[in-house]
Each structure stands twice: as C-alpha cells, then as structure tokens.
Amino acid sequence: MAEMTLIQAITDTMWSEMERDEKVFVLGQDCGRYGGVFKATAWKSQEDGSPDQSEKMYDRFGPLRVLDAPLAENAIIGGAIGSAIAGYRPIAEIQFMDFIDCAMGHIVNQAGVMSFKTNGSWCCPLTIRTPFGGDIGGGITHSQSNEAWFCHAAGLIVMTPSTVEDAAGLLRTAIRCDDPVLFIEHKKLYRSVKGEAPTDPDFMVPIGKARIHQSGSDITFVAYGNMLIRAMEATRILQKEGVSVEVIDPRTLWPLDLDTIVNSVCKTGRCVVISESHSSYGFSSEIAARVQEGAFWNLLSPIRMISAPDTPYPFDPAMEKAYLPSVETILKAAKGAMEND
C-alpha cells in the first residue's frame, strides 16, 4: 500500500500486466532504453513507491517487448494493430497527444472498425497511451487535448485517470480489454498527483463508471484531468462559503456514465462542466447536452460550460494562464449558476 505518483502507478500496471501475459508488449518512441520521455516505461516501484532504478522495463522484458519504435506514428499504431490481430496485446505510446493526428486514419478506420468489419469475428485489443493537456509550458504542439475527436468516432473507448488508484485500475482494464482503448494521461498530474496504489494485482476499474470525487447537494461539477484538480480547489473555496458541491470525474469519456452525472444534477439542479480542450464541439458541450436531456425538469439554471478558447494553445506563460480555465473561472460560473441568473 505504497504512496506513489500517478505515473508510477501507470508503469507498475504495465509491468505487472507484462509479467502476467507475455502477449502484452510496449512500443513507442524512446520507450525502450530511454524509458520514455516521461519515464513511464522505465522503472517499476520499490516498497516505498519510488522507482527502482536498478532495472529498466527494457532490460526486464527485452528489446522486442519494449520496442524503441521509429519516428513514425502510422507504423506505431498500424503496426500495433497488425500485431493485435496476430494475437498480441500492444500498448502503443504516442509521445504527445498532439501528434496523434498523424495516426488518425489507423485509429479511427482500422482499430475502431476491426470488430465491426469482421462481423465480430476479430477484435483489436490495443491500448494507446498518450500524454495530453497543458499547464506545463508546452506550447502549440505539446499541450493539446484532442480526446473529443476519438469520442466522436466508432469503436473506441476513451479513458483518463485522475487518481493513482484509477491510473492502475483503468489502465489494467484497458490492457485486458479486447477492444481498442485510447488511454490519455494528463502530463500535469503525472507527478503532482500522489496516492496509495491498489495492492490487488487484478484491480480494475470498470469501463463507463464515473467516480464521485466528492459528494454534495447544491451544484454538480464535471471534470477530469487537471481541470478536476482545479474544480476541487474551487470546491474547497465554495465549501467554506457554505456551498455544497458534488464533483464527478467521468473517468471514461466514451462511453460516458450519464446515469451518475444526470442523477447528480437531478439532485443539485445545477451543473458546471469544466474542460481544457477547445470550447466548440467538445466535452463541455457533450455533457451539457446530455444533462439538459436527462435532468431538464430538475435544472434550476442553465448548465455552465467552461473550456479553452477555439485558438491554438499559446506558449507564453501569461498567455497560457489566460488560455486555461482557472479556479476563478470556475468560481464565477458556479456563482452564476447559484444565483439562477
């Protein structure tokens, strides 16, 4: 029951699944000898939760199972899919989610349709891990959150952990799942989120089950990743002001656990959705649309949607601050909702 970082839980989970099933393997740029640019494929944890730097994943499982892939996203994803239909369970890493657009065709029109186009005879047990999100000074192409594209597609599960426990449980579910999973990891949370890792080597979190991160009765916040952290900060402030907030982390972005979200809003009557991706056609709109559908008669005020602007992601720190929804943004929206304007 060691306390560890979120990224360490990710490494540990891959490690334990690779121990368990020799068909599980990892491929990606710099994933092998280097252990990944974020060190996600480097070292498993030791007793105290810190990385055991005596042995890399590459050394433990060998260069074929921890493949230093070429600088070629189509080869990585398309190759992983090929290995999957030949019996393997690849975990492909895309170094930054920003570059996933290079392999869009393979993900959407090969992985996502594999079961469908074989009338269910074949499946595609592929996990794509990729770091997303900003607040790390990454600029245009190291900060993007493009998950909505994959939620607006067919045959793909999309999930993201915001706690250590979920990192382990969701990733294990993804690896053991026979369907393709896009597993997005918020870079900012990698080392800032810490927690106890589950000890059960079969610990899994089900697909499509939200986590009620905090219970409350006045207003519902829906968020994941770094925005969940900010939502929690806003929650603490509101709590002091006597506002009781229910905070929901959907965990799986497709399929959504609408029951949990809608039930919460039916109870609170108010909802703020917070996302750091572009404002149009994204997560915030999706949640707002579904909530107005399911909780219409219980809504006390319009659902507030908070997102990033429809501009590219700026680098300059002051701009980045202005770009991302802040705790103040959330507070303002929550107050608007509470005042039933």
Partner: protein, 366 residues
C-alpha cells in the same frame, strides 16, 4: 513426355487462376444485371500475380489485401459461396454485410479486409510480421546480435537454423506506393527485417492517375533501396515467374532473411470499378495487355512444355462453373438477409459497450 508432377503442380496453379477469372467475370455480369448493389472492382487481368503469390500462404499467415485481390483470396481458399455472400451483402458474408461488397476479406482464412483507405493495411502487415518475430523470439529461436556497446540491435538478429516463421502477405497497387503508410510500413519492416512479402501490383493506373503521377522512378521496385530490402520487377502475368520469385521471397522471410518488395507488372482490363468507363487509357494499351492475358501466358508455357491438356482444363472449368453456379443459386435463393439492426451488436467485443450504442439507437428509433 510431360512431367506429371510438374503438370499437376501447374494445374494446381491454374485452377485458382481460372476460378478467379470465371468468378470475376461472373460477378461483373451480375453487377451489371443489377443483381447486387454497391459496385464491383474487377481484377481481371491480374490473376497470375494474385494466385502465384497466394498459393504460398500457410495457415497462420496473414493476408492483407487491398481492393483488387480476389485471386489471392481464392488461392488462399475462399469459396465462391463466401464471395457471393459478400457481394450480395448476405448474412453469411465474411463481414456480415457490414462492409462494402468490394472491400472484403475473410477472418476465417486470416484475410484482413481493407477498410477502404488505400495503403493502410500495408502497415498492418508489418505489424503482424513483427508479431511473428516476437513469436519466434519468445520460443527462443531468435538471437539478438548487439553491437559492442550493447546499444544497437535493430534488424540485427539471427533465427535458429531450420526454424520457419509465419509470413505476412501485403498487396497494394502502384498508386498506393505514393502514400506515407507504404513508406512507414516498409521502413519498419526494413529496420527489423520482418517476415513480410510486399507485392505491388503495378497495373499502370490508380483510378485515372497514370503511373508517372504517383511514381517518379522507372520501376516501383526502385523504392526498395530506400528500405534496405531487395526489390525486383517481374512479369506479373506469368504465374510461373510470380510463383517462383514470390516463393523465394517467402522462404527467405520465413527463415529470417527479411522482407522483399516484388513489383508485378500487370493490368486491369476494365475500369477502376464497374462504374468507371476507363476512358483515360488508349485502346491500344488495353489491347496490348489483353494479349498478355495470364491465362494465355500459362497456356503458351504449358504448350511449349507439351503439358497443355484440353481435357484437364475442360474438367477444371466445368468444376469451377459448377461451384459458381451453385454459389449463385444459393446466394439468390437460400442465403439469408442480415438483420437490419445487427450492426449494433458487433462494434465491440465487450458486449456491454454494444448495449450502450443499442440503447441510444433504441431511444432514437425504438
């Protein structure tokens, strides 16, 4: 003076080639009669390349065709019934009628259907080949040869003498070689010396685009040099040549010798699909290639060898026609239509996820 063994082998190549031709011409006709929907991609003229390659496949080898590889599938063993079920969009179709009639494969025979994105499945073949390498490595048959610093190994491994790996078969057209996917696949396979055979069917055209509008080199096989693999251009209408050259490449691949790019010069007699008048080509060009009909080339060789046997041929032809007739009767009279809502149950292996999409649909239309 005919060598019966040889002769037998030759007819084993001839049968699927003729079956491909007869099946193909029949489907063209059926489509033109409006007896099935969509469109039809004829591969008439390209049978030798397909069959000459396809006959080298073993169980477990993946075949990743594009949209014009009926012959490879026939050689692999696809039945006329399966093909008819496919083009007629019947429940018995390999894809359950979910896909377009002309984008097909057969999961039962390890044939991956193309999705429609030209060249995407070329990458998939390299991935499967990587899996075969891992298979051999997990069985302890692969020795990695590190450089002296212990850093570099890519492509530098030795397969245990006598061991044979599975081989991935990738088919694509001349046009497809302009795609980045082609490059990323061959590059990956070249780096790791993967057991894959790349067969390019150079039929001079990619829809209305001429070869020179997709390929800046004299030969498509010139591209192989960029991947450190052998590249060769052969007469794709001579099944004996195809069979021999591909056979060598397949053997080399299985034994750890790495991938090969084989360019087969061939020609599609008809339009890109049945709705294409193909008026971008000259009549002379078409006529010239029809003279090089793979069936005639086969016959000429056999006659030269004194092995052409009208009786055998007639018998084979009759058998094939019987299979086709039966398949058509079956598909038109006995096969079953798919359930209009069945597609809702096959997007995922995880059944609860199919329920998610079904519930949403039922809310809409239920």
């Amino acid at each position: 003076m005919t060598d019966p063994t040889k002769s037998k082998e030759s007819y084993a190549l001839f049968r699927p080639m003729l079956k491909t031709r007869l099946l193909d011409e029949r489907m063209r006709k059926l489509f033109r009669q409006g007896r099935f929907k969509g469109t039809y991609f004829s591969a008439v003229g390209q049978e030798a390349t397909n069959v000459g390659t396809g006959t080298h496949m073993r169980e477990g080898d993946i075949l990743a065709p594009s949209h014009r590889q009926l012959g490879a599938m026939v050689a692999r063993g696809i039945t006329a019934k399966r093909v008819m079920a496919q083009v007629y969009s019947k429940a018995e179709s390999p894809d359950g009628a979910q896909q377009h009639p002309c984008h097909f494969g057969d999961p039962q025979l390890d044939i991956v259907s193309p999705t429609g994105h030209v060249a995407i499945q070329v990458v998939l073949a390299a991935g499967a080949a990587y899996a075969y390498l891992m298979d051999a490595w997990r069985e302890g048959k692969v020795k990695i040869n590190w450089d002296k610093e212990g850093i570099v190994w890519a492509g530098n491994w030795t397969l245990e003498e006598g061991h044979e790996m599975n081989c991935a078969f990738s088919f694509f057209g001349d046009g497809a070689t302009a795609k980045g996917d082609f490059h990323e696949s061959l590059n990956f396979a070249g780096i790791h010396k993967l057991p894959v055979v790349y067969v390019c069917e150079n039929n001079l055209w990619a829809e209305s685009a001429h070869l020179t509008e997709n390929v800046p080199t004299e030969k498509v096989s010139d591209r192989a040099a960029a991947y450190g693999m052998p590249g060769i251009t052969i007469d794709g209408n001579d099944i004996f040549e195809v069979n021999r050259v591909v056979g060598e490449a397949v053997r080399r691949a299985r034994r750890g010798g790495g991938p090969t790019l084989i360019e087969c010069m061939t020609y599609r007699w008809y339009g890109h699909s049945e709705i294409d008048p193909a008026d971008y080509r000259t009549e002379e060009e078409v006529a010239k290639w029809k003279e090089r009909d793979p069936l005639l080339v086969f016959r000429a060789t056999m006659e030269e060898r004194g092995e052409w046997d009208e009786e055998i041929v007639a018998k084979i032809e009759a058998e094939i026609n019987e299979e086709i007739d039966e398949a058509i009767d079956w598909v038109e009279e006995e096969s079953t239509d798919p359930q209009p809502d069945q597609f809702l149950d096959v997007t995922f292996r995880t059944s609860s996820l199919n329920e998610v999409v079904r519930r949403e649909w039922e809310k809409r239309d239920g």
